[in-house]
Subunit: 211 residues, 2 copies
């Protein structure tokens, strides 16, 4: 029995849509729907407006794949950013994470996932061609007297799929005048050694620096 025997179809629709969100199962979707209905003016109506607003105004940046109300996005058109460096990330959430950390002040490129032959995801399903195109363009903003080399930072996740994708991109970028770097592996700041896996610990020892 679905809950629409005892409630209206409106609640049932709301529950079913909420259950499609990552992180919400059927039970938490029901609780979330009920919470929304109880807080009609504080959350439910604002959410309806925010969702409809976002649906109208937000789109994917055709340059980098970020989501924004502007296209090209605020980052791509930000003149204070170092345009010679492109940070390659798997997903927009990773871009957001790096921006929250103020880790870099340059451009991004969102791949839209990782290579995964088993799931049938090949290079054509990601934005790798677009990345090669972007990197191939000359950096016109820099004069020929003071040329600047491009850098591509491969900020993919430290997973097998992420690293495979990084290797593939490195191969594709061969021959272009671009410096390719990757994120450092090591002990997370605040991390305790006892809780870390062997791979991380080995990497941290291998990449140790002078104190």
């Amino acid at each position: 029995m679905s809950s629409n025997r005892v409630t209206g179809p409106e609640i049932e629709t709301l529950i079913q849509l909420l259950a499609k969100l990552p992180g919400l199962g059927p039970r938490s979707a029901r609780r979330a729907a009920l919470h929304l209905i109880k807080k009609k003016d504080q959350i439910l109506r604002p959410l309806a407006n925010a969702a409809s607003d976002a649906a109208e105004k937000v789109s994917e940046c055709e340059e980098c794949g970020n989501v924004d109300t502007a296209n090209p996005c605020t980052i791509c058109t930000d003149v204070r950013r170092d345009i010679s460096t492109i940070v390659v990330v798997e997903d927009v959430v990773d871009l957001w994470a790096l921006e929250r950390a103020k880790a870099v002040n340059c451009l991004y490129h969102v791949l839209g996932g990782t290579l995964s032959p088993l799931d049938g995801i090949g290079p054509e399903d990601l934005t790798i061609d677009a990345l090669i195109n972007r990197v191939s363009k000359p950096l016109v903003q820099y004069s020929s007297e003071d040329p600047k080399q491009r850098e591509v930072i491969l900020a993919v996740n430290a997973t097998v799929e992420g690293q495979t994708t990084a290797h593939y991109i490195t191969d594709r970028l061969e021959g272009l005048d671009v410096k390719i770097t990757r994120l450092a592996h090591g002990v997370p700041v605040g991390g305790e050694l006892d809780y870390l896996d062997e791979g991380t610990l080995s990497a941290a020892i291998k990449s140790r620096s002078n104190f």
Copy 2:
């Protein structure tokens, strides 16, 4: 840095509202928002419509506290239900759970929480007075030749707060012609003894029945 430096305020608003839902923290709210934006036509727009629909049409039943598009709700006006029995639950999610299980076919009364002196929640914050009123009314539907006794099933959670509330309600119902029952304690169907707490096992032994 909030993510609205790199995205529009529309996305930021959406994230902040989603983060208010039970079960979603800041990180999962960001992922959920991104998921919505990526699936604009499949989820985001329908969610906007469903939320606005629910905000307009759904309200709390003034009789039992259920949420529904009808007021009194579909359950209170359902003539096929046994109106002599009222199941008292803490929250609407509990009502939904009992309905999904088709456990009973009678009326409900949603308390809106449990007594909790530490949190400053007293009887006046729950719908206990309304319950007493409902139970005090004569069951006019039954003829005087075939009178029927009212029953109140206390289907509160098996927590300290739930049981305290059940005891309080029992005291308040004293003197009224009503049979008061509570849910059975025991081994959950499909449950393994090894995973159950001592209280449940003791209750299951105490309430054992003939095989």
